[in-house]
Symmetry: C2
Subunit: 365 residues, 2 copies
C-alpha cells in the first residue's frame, strides 16, 4: 500500500473524527475506516465519552472475520480499560490484519501500555503514519495530556481602529455574517465556551451553536466572581451544563439549576485565571473557546494562557469615543505563527502562541 | 483575429504603457505594439510630455511601409496637435492596415475629433476592444479629464489597535519590508507625492523612489500653511520639482530653489483642501500619492477627496498611549469596493471610493 493511499484513507478517518469533535471530552475525537481491496467497507467516529470508541463502532458494522482488512484510525488505538473495553482487544478478536494510525497517543496510560507491541505480538501489522492535518487536529489533546490545561482559543471582533463596541460599551454588529458563522463553528468544535458575568449581564447571549438551521447546546463556563448572573439569563436556557467560577471567600447562595460551582482564589479583586484554566482541564475539557469582552481577552493574553487567537477585522471605523478592544498598556504580541484568512469583506487574523509559560506552570503546578 | 489575440496583444501594449507610468503627466501613459503575421514586430511607450507619443516611437522603429500591420495601442490614438503632431496622421502616412485600441479617450478634444471616423476615412480598420486591466489603468486619467481633479490615493500604516506611531507621535517602523516596497512602487507610478510640513519637520523623509537598488526623484507637493519647512529638509535634495501650498495672506519669503509657491485660501487655520486638489489637477498631475500623518489622511477622507485608500496592517499592538491613526470623531467608511492583499505577515486593505462629491465639486467649481 502506497503512502498516498495511507494518507487518503487516514484523511477519510479524519473526516469521521471531525463529526465527533466538541462532543467527546474528556476523550479525544477519533475517526476510523476499514479498508479491504482498496475500498472503504465501513467508517465510524467516537460519539462521546461512555459510548463505544470509533474502532468498536466500526468493527460492529462489519461482517464477522473478513480477511485482509486494514483499519485506518486517526489516533493510536487505546489499550486500557476506561469506561469501555480496550480497542486493541476488539481489533485482535476480530482478526484485523493491519492497523494504520496517524497520531501517537500522548496520554501517559496509552504510552505505557505500548499498543504497537501488543498488536504485533498478535501478528497484526502496525504502521504509524503521521499526517500534518491530523497532528493539528490533536493539538489540543496533546496540550491537555501533556499539561493538564485545555487549549484556549480567544477571539475579538474589531473595527480598523481597534474598537469592539460603541461609546460606553454599546453593543454593535461590527463584523459580517461569515465571521458570525465562523464563531458558531468554533462553538461547535470546542468542548466548553468560557465567558464572564459581565458579558452575560451586558449582552445576555444564548451562547449555543446555531448552524445550518439547527441549534445545539454546549457546556458554558462563566467567570462570575461576585455571583451576579441571574437565573433568568438566556445562557441557562440554551447552554448545556454550566460551570460557575466564583470568589472562594463568598458564600454560595441558592444554586442555579444545571450549574456546578467552583470556588476560586482571588488576586486583586479578580479570580486567579490560572486556577480557572486548570479547573477546566481537570473537568476534562481539551478545547476552551473564549467569548467575552476585552478585559478577559487581554488578561488571558497577558498571562500567556491563550494558545490561539482569532481577530476578526471589519473595514469600518468606529471613532475615538468607541470602546477599545485593547484597553491595557503595551502588550508585545509575538505569536509563533500568523495567518490571514479572507472572510468576504472582513479579514480574519489567526495567531498561534508557543505558550511555554502555560506548559511550565501546569506541569509544575 | 480572435478576441483572445486582441486581448493578448493589448496586454502587451499595457506592459509598455506601464513603463512610462508616473513620468508622462499631463499626458496619459500609453503603450503600443505592432503586429504582423501574429508576431510583435515592434513595441514602444510614451516616455513623457514633449517627447514622441508611443505610436510615433513605434512607427519610427519599423521598416517603412510594411503591409498588413496591426497597431495595438492601450489608448485611442490622438488626433490633434499638442506638443507633438497627431498620431493619426503618422498612422495614415505609414500605411497601417488596422488599429486596435482598448481605452476610448475621455479627453474632450480627442472625443470631438473622432479618431475612428478619421482613420476609417483613410481605409484603416479601427477596432475598439476594451480590456478590464486597461480600463483600470486609465482610472486616474478618466477622473482627471472628466473632473479636472487628480486621482488621490492615500495610505496609512497601522497596528491592530489602529495606532500609527508611538507615544507623542514617536516614529516607529510598524509595517514590514513588503509594505515599504509597495510604498516605493506607488511613489514610482504616481505623478506627484503630496505631504505636509508637519511630516517633513517630524520625519524629514527623502520621498524619492528607491526600488531595485536605483533611486528616482518625483515631484513633491507640500502643504505648508505657515511656510515652516526649511531649505535643508532632505526632500529638497531628493525630490524632483516641489510645489509649496501656503496661506495666501502671508508674504512669501526668499523662495527655496526648485520650488513653486501656490497661495491658497484658509478655512479655520487650515488651507482649503479643495483648492489644493484643484491646483494639483491644473498642474497636470493625474495621480497624487499622499504620504502624510493622520490629520491630512483623515481630512482628505472626511471631505471625500480620496479615490483609493491603502491601509497597511501589522499584527502588533502599540497600546493605548500610542498615537491613533484615527483621531477624528466618527467617520462612516463606506467604500465602493474592498480588497485585501496579503503582504507576508502584514495585510493590505485597499478601498475604492465612488467620490461623487468630488466629481460634482470639480465639474461645477
Amino acid at each position: 500500500m502506497s503512502d498516498f493511499m495511507h494518507v487518503t484513507f487516514l484523511l477519510e478517518a479524519l473526516k469521521e473524527a471531525k463529526r465527533g469533535r466538541g462532543y467527546c471530552s474528556p476523550n479525544p475525537a477519533v475517526g476510523a475506516v476499514a479498508v479491504k481491496d482498496n475500498q472503504i467497507i465501513a467508517s465510524a467516529w467516537h460519539q462521546g465519552a461512555g459510548s463505544p470508541h470509533a474502532e468498536q463502532r466500526l468493527l460492529s458494522q462489519m461482517p464477522s472475520h473478513l480477511s485482509d482488512v486494514t483499519l485506518y484510525v486517526t489516533l493510536e488505538p487505546c489499550n486500557h480499560w476506561g469506561k469501555t473495553p480496550p480497542c486493541v482487544d476488539a481489533i485482535v478478536n476480530y482478526g484485523i490484519n493491519r492497523v494504520v494510525y496517524a497520531y501517537k497517543d500522548t496520554n501517559p496510560v496509552v504510552r505505557a501500555n505500548d499498543t504497537p507491541a501488543y498488536l504485533s505480538r498478535h501478528d497484526i501489522e502496525v504502521i504509524h503514519h503521521p499526517v500534518d492535518e491530523i497532528n493539528t487536529f490533536y493539538n489540543s489533546y496533546r496540550h491537555w495530556t501533556l499539561t493538564g490545561a485545555p487549549w484556549v482559543t480567544a477571539k475579538l471582533a474589531q473595527s480598523l481602529d481597534g474598537k469592539i463596541a460603541g461609546k460606553g460599551g454599546k453593543r454593535l454588529q461590527i463584523t459580517n455574517q461569515t465571521c458570525a458563522q465562523f464563531t458558531h463553528e468554533q462553538r461547535h468544535t470546542c468542548d466548553v465556551i468560557l465567558t464572564t458575568a459581565s458579558t452575560i449581564l451586558h449582552d445576555d447571549p444564548m451562547l449555543n451553536v446555531r448552524l445550518k438551521g439547527a441549534e445545539q447546546s454546549k457546556p458554558v463556563a462563566i467567570i462570575d466572581r461576585q455571583l451576579l448572573v441571574h437565573p433568568s439569563a438566556k445562557v441557562f436556557q440554551y447552554a448545556g451544563p454550566c460551570h460557575i467560577f466564583y470568589d472562594a471567600t463568598i458564600s454560595l447562595p441558592q444554586p442555579i439549576e444545571n450549574c456546578t460551582y467552583h470556588p476560586i482564589n482571588c488576586d486583586d479583586e479578580r479570580l486567579n485565571l490560572q486556577s480557572v484554566i486548570k479547573k477546566l482541564g481537570e473537568l476534562g475539557y481539551h478545547d476552551v473557546w473564549v467569548e467575552a469582552g476585552p478585559a478577559l481577552f487581554n488578561a488571558l493574553h497577558q498571562e500567556h494562557f491563550v494558545n490561539q487567537t482569532f481577530i476578526y477585522i471589519a473595514p469600518i471605523l468606529l471613532g475615538p469615543e468607541a470602546t477599545s478592544g485593547y484597553p491595557l498598556p503595551f502588550v508585545p504580541l509575538k505569536p509563533d505563527s500568523i495567518q490571514w484568512h479572507p472572510m468576504d469583506d472582513n479579514m480574519l487574523l489567526s495567531m498561534l502562541w508557543a505558550n511555554d509559560q502555560l506548559e511550565r506552570v501546569c506541569l509544575q503546578g
